[in-house]
């Protein structure tokens, strides 16, 4: 996926990032609360039919390994035979992560795309932060958009009521084999679809995102001194950090909450929640292993290997490209490689594979939920809902199809040209007209993530795909999912934003030495009373019901 805001999705990975909330509703009437508990249980998810029209160079696997494409195909496959639209007006509410595109009236690419879609598509573009406010304001107005992207992490509340009152229940249209009418939507896995299930029904097309989670990505020049960004024990990691720190270079960015979150993977901390043998749930920050991870971060801090800056500094990635920071936390390995290539094209970022830091769990990798939400459809007659589903199907066309190229790059020679190795590169016009619109469309829905050479800038794209693919192969054996993905808890929406901000503040205070680590455990004893136990109970009930 191109152009996602880096910081946001780092935040998404770390449950501790500020202000992340979740889907569904907050403290409202008990009738809806009861309904939500049914959650994803008992709905027949769409059948998974992988798209076989374009063959990848590096094969995916069922465990979540991405497919890899090393070249840009000479001939593209036409995967949607005729324009899916009926000539009507369609509005889409979504978020963009780039500068906004030229407005539709002056945007030749947009008009061209509308012809291909067969509709007059208007896009209401939210930004980050602030999407929740844009969403609330748009929905509160009388004109509900036809398609609405609903993220699980931006504090949008009362989603369940909104869906029930104003959105189309598409369960019948996509459940089981019915989804085959929309082949690109059928290519999404059931794990993807789970995101779009609320109150036991399916409400929209998922927005896939890489399924790998947070990692340290490093500047190879900095780590050269210490034989690369890798380690087999905390002591070795600490020693390497000390070795590369000196002069105007520091080993790690000072975003302590992310540092602890990534290090916690080495200490075997669960991915957000862990389900015990008896079915009980433990929150990751309550565990002793998490405490050890904080302790290790304190050690790193005392050794002076964190860059001396603000723990929410916004330019850490730039500083890393310039070589004054050794490693930063990225949302996933792909972003780590992609981002450094943008800021310093000659540098291939190295990725730290979690090492064993003792303890029982061994190293783990916290997988991402694999989507950034879903796009719901406004209630309407079945014909219209089906038409809108076909539009979403078009938007989810995978790499190697004509539909994908026309959305991602626009028209040949006008919006993009091919570079010497045959990869498309946007022209100045393409940057203005295509980039922003594509960003909004791919937020709404996109084909499942894949490693595609044209995603990376610079001349070493093929190597980038192979490297990230290799890293993913190393992460898969230690990867663990968050067991509560696809389950809903009212208490989670209500209490989690505050709990996570307070926890992040406390981690910052403890690691920077303003508070004592002894305050950590009592904080979580207190948190139990302030909603943690309630979330636990609700998730547990939902998990029990679904038999997971």
């Amino acid at each position: 996926m191109n152009g996602m805001s880096r910081r946001t999705f780092v935040g998404l990975g770390a449950a501790v990032a500020a202000g992340v909330a979740s889907t569904s509703l907050t403290g409202c009437g008990s009738s809806t609360a009861k309904k939500t508990e049914a959650a994803s249980a008992n709905v027949k998810l769409p059948t998974y039919v992988p798209y076989t029209g374009v063959k990848p160079d590096l094969p995916p696997n069922a465990k979540g390994l991405d497919s890899g494409f090393l070249s840009y195909p000479k001939t593209l496959v036409r995967s949607v035979p005729k324009p899916p639209g009926d000539g009507s007006k369609v509005t889409l509410l979504t978020e963009i992560w780039t500068p906004p595109p030229t407005p539709k009236d002056a945007n030749a690419h947009w008009q061209q795309l509308n012809k291909k879609l067969g509709v007059d598509l208007s896009v209401i573009m939210g930004t980050d932060p602030g999407y929740d406010q844009k969403f609330a304001a748009t929905v509160a107005g009388n004109e509900l958009p036809d398609l609405m992207w609903i993220p699980p992490n931006q504090g949008i509340q009362h989603v369940a009521q909104l869906l029930e009152a104003k959105c189309a229940d598409i369960t019948e249209l996509v459940s089981g084999d019915a989804v085959k009418a929309y082949p690109h939507l059928a290519a999404m896995t059931q794990a993807h679809w789970k995101t779009a299930v609320v109150n036991g029904r399916i409400w929209g097309a998922p927005s896939p995102y890489p399924a790998f989670g947070q990692v340290y990505g490093g500047n190879p020049k900095v780590w050269e001194k210490a034989e690369g960004l890798s380690a087999s024990s905390p002591d070795e990691f600490l020693a390497k950090c000390k070795e590369v720190t000196g002069g105007k270079v520091w080993a790690l960015e000072p975003i302590y909450s992310n540092a602890v979150s990534v290090m916690s993977q080495c200490f075997g901390v669960p991915n957000k929640w862990e389900r015990g043998k008896d079915g009980s749930l433990t929150f990751w920050m309550e565990t002793d292993a998490y405490l050890e991870a904080i302790n290790f971060a304190i050690k790193l801090k005392k050794a002076g290997v964190f860059y001396p800056g603000n723990p929410d500094m916004a330019d850490a990635y730039i500083k890393m490209a310039q070589g004054s920071i050794g490693a930063c936390v990225y949302a996933n390995p792909t972003n780590a490689r992609k981002d450094l290539r943008i800021n310093a094209p000659e540098l291939a970022s190295q990725i730290l594979v979690p090492f064993a830091a003792g303890g029982s769990g061994g190293p783990r990798h916290h997988l991402h939920r694999g989507t950034i939400g879903y796009t719901a459809i406004k209630k309407g007659d079945e014909k219209r809902v089906k038409m809108l589903l076909s539009i979403l199907n078009y938007m989810a066309a995978p790499f190697g199809t004509e539909e994908r190229e026309s959305q991602e790059f626009g028209s040949r020679d006008l919006d993009f040209t091919f570079d010497k190795s045959g990869f498309p590169v946007r022209t100045a016009k393409g940057k203005k007209e295509v980039e922003g619109l594509r960003s909004g469309l791919e937020t709404a829905t996109v084909s499942p993530s894949a490693l595609i050479a044209s995603m990376f800038e610079g001349d070493a794209r093929v190597q980038d795909v192979k490297d990230v693919y290799a890293i993913e192969q190393k992460l898969i054996p230690i990867g663990i999912p968050d067991p509560t993905v696809g389950h809903y808890s009212d208490a989670y929406t209500e209490y989690y934003p505050r709990m996570s901000t307070d926890a992040k503040d406390l981690v910052n205070d403890i690691v920077s030495g303003r508070k004592n680590i002894k305050e950590w455990k009592p904080f979580w004893t207190e948190a139990k009373k302030r909603g943690l136990d309630k979330m636990r109970k609700e998730f547990q009930k939902s998990l029990d019901k679904s038999g997971e």
């Binding site: 907050t26 509160a140 009362h158 800056g309 603000n310 929410d312 505050r498 303003r514």
Partner: protein, 289 residues
Amino acid sequence: MLALMVPGLAFFLVFFYVPMLGNVIAFQDYQPFIGFQDSPFVGFANLQELFADPAFWEAVRNTLVFALLQLLLFFPAPLALALLVNSLISGRTRRFVQSIVYLPHFISWVLVVALFQQVLGGAGLLNNFLREHGMQPWDLMTNPDTFPLLITGQAIWKDVGWGMIIYLAALASVDQSLYESAAVDGAGRWRRMWHITLPAVRSVTILLLVLRLGDILSVGFEQFLLQRDAVGARAAEVLDTYVFYHGVVYGDWGIGAAAGLVKGVVGALMIWGANKVAHAFGEQGVYSK
């Protein structure tokens, strides 16, 4: 004639008084999706919860400390600078200095904080210099103890020139012949300042003081939001960031509004009190009796 007032009245009505009705959410368990009408009323529960929250009182304490420091250090600064600039004889130099000291006002807080970070931060100019010369680095930007001075310093750097304008205007209106006759009578420069200059700016000063007092709990927002993580919430949370975190980030709109309301009520009381003081000085204040 009265009809000419309509646009002005409408402006205040639509953009000030009608939105004030929104404060009703301080007494509701408000959710934007449901709206004012359907959100349940909870009476004073939000205020109770607010007053029971230690973080609120920390925010109040910080706000008061910053406000007091700003009043003591920041408030007199523009006057002092105005006197200094006013004493420049060359018109050209004066205009040049004026332009330079205004400029920072137009720089956003993001940039001001970044500039301070570049100079005083852990990897900034000062500390790189200290490190290179074998001295202990001294990170001012992440030290919660010196934070109140730091933010007051930033505020002065940014806005002292802007605040000076109004005093300069008052000084420009002083009749020059007063100085001449005072000089003829043998008054030195300090006497002239005491008997002519300062009385000339007194009413402006008091007016500004009253306005400042009414607004005293608004010590700033972006400045604190940007530096909150660097020194921790305990040192940097002020009422406005408290409202932001509770209202917007945590989704407790009711509590956020309640905190904003408390701030508004205190501000109104301060204006009323300060105006009394102004009257006691024989000045007009914001409104006369």
